[in-house]
């Protein structure tokens, strides 16, 4: 199959990312005249103000749109990169962080806080306030990952089939527990759960960005280092070991790093599906399955896609907003079906 030069593709993605970021900053429900826009940015960069800019414009740009843009870039890159790495680890192009139960574990943590926050965990919520939900989601995703890893690993030997089956079981258990919580939830809590489960970047603030930064940047920097090992994994664990990769270490690191990235992303932006599934899949068709090219390209493309999707989310029904998870599902669902149906697009299905 024909392949695009990866360097050219990276270039295109990087350029598109800059354009999309700029575009995302200038569009929104609130119209910001370009003169004010430039003035705000000049102020932000430390130039003295020529003329005072209305406060609400400055706040919108620097405290609302900019952190949100950074959040979209980080979450998009993290989800797509984790998806690519997990698919490589499981040698399964349909694998997804959701598949091994990380997302549903995080969702259970978040829903517990929404429903039980003001009764069971009241003192704790009072302690951590607005951080309660992200912290709970993150902790829950890490616990889920460790439990699944523990179940599927015996004396250092991780059985991928067991891992997948454990993931299914954990998904079912977490789903049932979440269902139980929605059952005892009241009306307004239900609305909150629904919105959270559809994903949103609405609340992004600089504090949120700062809090999630390490959890996303560390996987973003470290996961690409495992690209050669992931290539080896595609031929099976034994082959990877015979090629000299320390496969226990590699598996542990990849599982932990992806749990970290996905947990942080889910914690701050709710459940945003399909990104981790569709982006690597699509890129494999264009630049091939080599993880050394695929992982950076996935991060760039994921960031790009989520930035653009968030722009839609913010503007389509302005001044209200659509949940971004909904937009991703609308794009991703049909695309994924087309992928399954089209023999030419199946991984490896080239006659």
């Amino acid at each position: 199959m024909y392949r695009v030069n990866p360097i050219a593709l990276w270039g295109i993605f990087a350029a598109a990312l800059v354009v999309a970021s700029a575009w995302s900053l200038v569009t929104g429900a609130l119209h910001i005249p370009s003169r004010e826009l430039v003035a705000v940015l000049k102020q932000g960069l430390g130039f003295s103000a020529i003329e005072p800019v209305p406060l609400h414009l400055e706040i919108t740009l620097l405290q609302i749109r900019l952190p949100r843009l950074v959040m979209a870039l980080l979450v998009g890159a993290a989800l797509a990169l984790s998806g690519a790495a997990i698919q490589g680890l499981f040698r399964n192009p349909l694998a997804d962080p959701g598949l091994i139960g990380v997302s549903s574990g995080a969702a259970l943590g978040a829903v517990s806080i929404i429903v039980l926050g003001d009764t069971l965990f009241s003192s704790w919520v009072w302690l951590s306030g607005r951080w309660a939900l992200p912290v709970a989601a993150f902790v829950a995703s890490l616990i889920t990952t460790l439990v699944i890893y523990r179940i599927s690993t015996r004396s250092g030997y991780t059985q991928v089939a067991t891992l997948l089956l454990a993931g299914i079981a954990i998904n079912a258990i977490a789903g049932a527990a979440t269902g139980l919580l929605t059952f005892i939830a009241d009306d307004s809590e239900l609305r909150s759960i629904t919105f959270w489960s559809m994903g949103s970047l609405t609340q992004s603030s600089w504090q949120d960005v700062a809090a999630m930064l390490p959890f996303i940047v560390i996987p973003l920097l470290l996961l690409p280092l495992f690209a050669p090992a992931l290539n080896g994994f595609l031929m099976g664990e034994t082959v990877a070991e015979h090629l000299g990769f320390p496969i226990r270490w590699v598996k542990r690191c990849i599982i932990l790093l992806t749990a970290m990235a996905v947990g942080a992303a889910v914690a701050f932006s709710g459940v945003i599906g399909f990104l981790g599934l569709v982006v690597p899949h699509l890129l494999r068709l264009v630049i091939g399955p080599d993880h050394r090219l695929l992982l950076p390209a996935s991060a760039l493309c994921g960031a790009l896609l989520l930035t653009v999707a968030d722009m839609f989310a913010r503007t389509v029904v302005a001044p209200a907003e659509l949940p971004i998870g909904l937009i991703m599902a609308i794009i991703g669902g049909p695309f994924f079906l087309a992928l399954l149906l089209s023999p030419a697009l199946k991984p490896g299905g080239v006659a």
Partner: protein
């Protein structure tokens, strides 16, 4: 030299211990020699080969006792990357569903060294040696079984290619005292090939087995074993029951004991190896 010392491998559950898959095997494999391991299905050949490869991550129920050493160093003590530079393994089957190009698959054999110009050159040479260079831009999953097998062999050979490792100071220092042999392990590497390619591949392996290469292959084909083996080992139920040159080992009695097979061994003036004709099973059991 690659040695096993009192190697025992068993499958141990909490409840039951099955008979040993490999029983008390002590063998020494010599450089420059192609050793072929033969035996009935389930005789422990692949298990032995895996132990020779020093495979560390294996099924938790598999228990291994005894040592495997390469040049007097325990395989368990080799750093993973160093071991990968010294031995390459071709498994029975490699399932790769992702659309890597053929040249990318072969280049993966160079993973322990990194992708430099030397690795690039060796990838090309390995591709040429196995005559798969015309396939190099094809997607691996689209190849036939036989083509895939030759590509995998090219990958495995590239991993321990002659002069493929950068000379390292320590290695130079040791060179005077310790010979650094490389090990080639093959598990049924001809199973998907047509007769001509079977001969081609074994011929290549034989040529590749230079004095600093130790080669060991599991094989099912008796005529091929007779033709290409420098040494043949027969295994049954985890034990070695015969070990020697093809002429010494491939006798009607030994084969009857190994396979429950009736054979006649012929000689022909044009060839210098025994010709084995299978006649049928030794013990007949009719349909009920």
């Amino acid at each position: 030299m690659l040695r096993t010392e009192n190697l025992r491998i068993s499958l141990t559950n909490k409840r039951t211990t099955t008979p040993h898959l490999v029983e008390n095997v002590s063998l020494a494999f010599k450089p420059g020699e192609l050793t072929l391991i033969l035996g009935a299905n389930g005789a422990g050949k692949s298990t032995l080969l895996n132990a020779l490869a020093g495979t560390r991550v294996r099924h938790p129920a598999l228990q291994q006792q005894g040592r495997v050493t390469l040049d007097n160093q325990d395989l368990a003590q080799f750093p993973a990357k160093e071991l990968a530079r010294r031995r390459a393994v071709m498994p029975q089957q490699v399932q790769l569903d992702f659309p890597f190009k053929v040249h990318e698959v072969i280049a993966m054999g160079r993973s322990p060294y990194g992708m430099d110009s030397q690795s690039q050159r060796i990838t090309d040479q390995a591709m040429a040696l196995l005559e798969v260079d015309h396939l190099q831009h094809r997607d691996y999953p689209s190849l036939s079984g036989g083509e895939q097998q030759r590509v995998q062999l090219a990958r495995v050979l590239a991993q321990i290619w002659p002069h493929g490792d950068k000379p390292r100071p320590q290695a130079d220092h040791e060179a005077g005292h310790v010979k650094r042999h490389r090990v080639l392990l093959l598990d049924e590497c001809t199973s998907a090939l047509d007769p001509a390619h079977q001969h081609q591949v074994l011929d290549i392996i034989k040529q590749f087995t230079t004095p600093d290469i130790i080669s060991c292959a599991v094989l099912h084909d008796l005529p091929l074993a007779a033709r290409y083996g420098d040494r043949v080992i027969l295994m049954k139920q985890g034990r070695v029951i015969a070990d020697g040159t093809p002429r010494q080992v491939l006798t009607a009695d030994n084969l009857a004991a190994t396979y429950d097979l009736r054979t006649r061994i012929l000689q022909h003036q044009e060839v210098d190896h025994p010709i084995i004709v299978g006649l049928g099973r030794a013990t007949q059991r009719g349909l009920p």
